[in-house]
């Protein structure tokens, strides 16, 4: 399987502005002083190997959207945040004519940042395409119609060209969709949210965002340890610091990098992708949190190493 991150930002898209771009350019040029960068190859090597990611790139600003490419002829995607716009353009570029396509979206929940991309998902306007929106909330259809109603958007949901179906799921049950086994899990978040464990050919990917973990102690009996057990990749909502998550932002429905590491270590997961980045954080801050999380994983490791990744828009991970 291949995981493509189209949107990794939490709560609200967070585009960078001209000042940020200028600051990156300035830092790159300062770091380039005294170096021989006479050819495109040496420039590429300098950018790719020597500049910090926060200078050479960006974690991106699109809200939640993650594709699980299982190598089948149907698309499997988690959430419809603003990143789904880029996913739609990617699909259109690959499939000409872009008709007869089948999409399966798995919804963590229907807060705005997780559905806002759908009105800009171009394949939804193409007759002949089939879009199945899977989820555990009873208000799936209502939420999607509301966001695309006047005066919020000029094209009503019911006027979209594709055939759109809503598929209700129950947490705890296993479903076979597009050649992949999917198990939803209820999470603590305002209005509830749901994580999904995708399994194919013995490999598992867990998508668990907008999920607060409320406990005094973490141990094997905590249900999420079982949900993450031996997963090849856990995509985890690490929006807040631990201190925020259990003090001023308690009950806001998000979790921390500390809890992410502890749960994935207990579950013996292989990789942890920090996800749903705080929109107030710039690239340097996200990079700092990433480095700190890698360090915490080292400090807290008890025999089993979890590889820590900080997800960014455009990241691809082969499972």
């Amino acid at each position: 399987m291949l995981v493509r991150f189209w949107g990794t930002r939490g709560s609200l898209p967070a585009p960078i502005n001209h000042k940020t771009v200028r600051a990156k350019l300035r830092e790159a040029l300062l770091l380039a002083r005294g170096r021989s960068l006479d050819t495109p190859e040496t420039v590429d090597a300098f950018i790719d190997r020597e500049l910090p990611f926060s200078v050479a790139g960006t974690f991106g600003g699109n809200s939640s959207c993650v594709q699980i490419d299982a190598g089948t002829n149907e698309f499997v995607v988690c959430d419809l945040g603003s990143g789904v716009r880029d996913f739609g353009h990617y699909v259109l570029a690959k499939h000409k004519p872009p008709q007869g396509l089948r999409f399966n979206f798995f919804m963590s929940h229907f807060h705005w940042d997780h559905i806002m991309g759908f009105p800009f998902f171009a394949p939804a306007y193409v007759p002949g395409n089939v879009i199945r929106i899977h989820g555990c909330h009873s208000i799936m259809h209502e939420a999607m119609v509301r966001q695309q109603s006047a005066p919020c958007f000029p094209v009503d949901f019911e006027r979209l060209g594709a055939t759109i179906e809503f598929v209700p799921l129950e947490p705890g049950r296993v479903y076979e969709v597009a050649g992949v086994s999917v198990r939803p899990m209820k999470q603590f978040h305002s209005g509830d949210s749901y994580g999904y464990r995708f399994t194919k050919d013995g490999k598992s990917i867990v998508y668990s965002t907008d999920s607060e973990h409320k406990f005094e102690t973490v141990n094997d009996s905590y249900p999420f340890v079982e949900f993450f057990r031996n997963a090849d990749l856990v995509i985890f909502d690490a929006m807040y610091s631990l201190a925020e998550a259990i003090s001023v932002k308690e009950d806001w429905g998000h979790s921390s990098n500390i809890v992410a590491v502890e749960l994935t270590q207990l579950a013996r997961a292989k990789r942890l992708a920090l996800f749903h980045h705080e929109p107030a954080f710039d690239d340097k801050m996200i990079e700092t949190v990433f480095a700190e999380t890698v360090r915490f994983e080292e400090i807290s490791r008890d025999g089993h190493r979890v590889e820590v990744i900080s997800a960014y828009d455009g990241l691809e991970i082969v499972i």
């Binding site: 973490v218 631990l242 201190a243 400090i299």
Partner: protein
């Protein structure tokens, strides 16, 4: 877990020994919150003998900070070992829980 106890005037200094984690956290929290009693207590947690603190232990410190404020008491930690200090930084607990370099500094501040 072993918790050493000394009293310096009105200040109770508790010195836990070892790790504050899933195993030791619940009992440690019970003891710490009990010491806060009916309110107004001044408690300094000397962490000089703590080698590691997990999220369970950090929860305890947040709970103690909240309870102390609610009961008009005083609560702080002191003498963090390097690893524990790193965990305080990574978790941002240093923004929430008052920290002193050592017990002497806490005594001076509270005297």
């Amino acid at each position: 877990m072993q918790i050493e106890e000394t009293r310096r005037g009105a200040i109770l200094v508790l010195t836990p020994v070892g790790r504050i984690d899933n195993e030791t956290g619940p009992a440690f929290q019970t003891r710490l919150l009990a010491e806060m009693g009916g309110g107004g207590a001044t408690i300094l947690l000397d962490l000089s003998k703590v080698q590691y603190i997990s999220s369970a232990g950090l929860h305890v410190l947040i709970a103690a900070t909240k309870q102390s404020k609610a009961l008009n008491g005083r609560f702080a930690v002191a003498a963090l070992q390097p690893i524990v200090k790193e965990i305080f930084t990574i978790s941002r607990l240093s923004h929430v829980v008052p920290i002193f370099d050592d017990v002497t500094a806490a005594m001076a501040a509270w005297s």
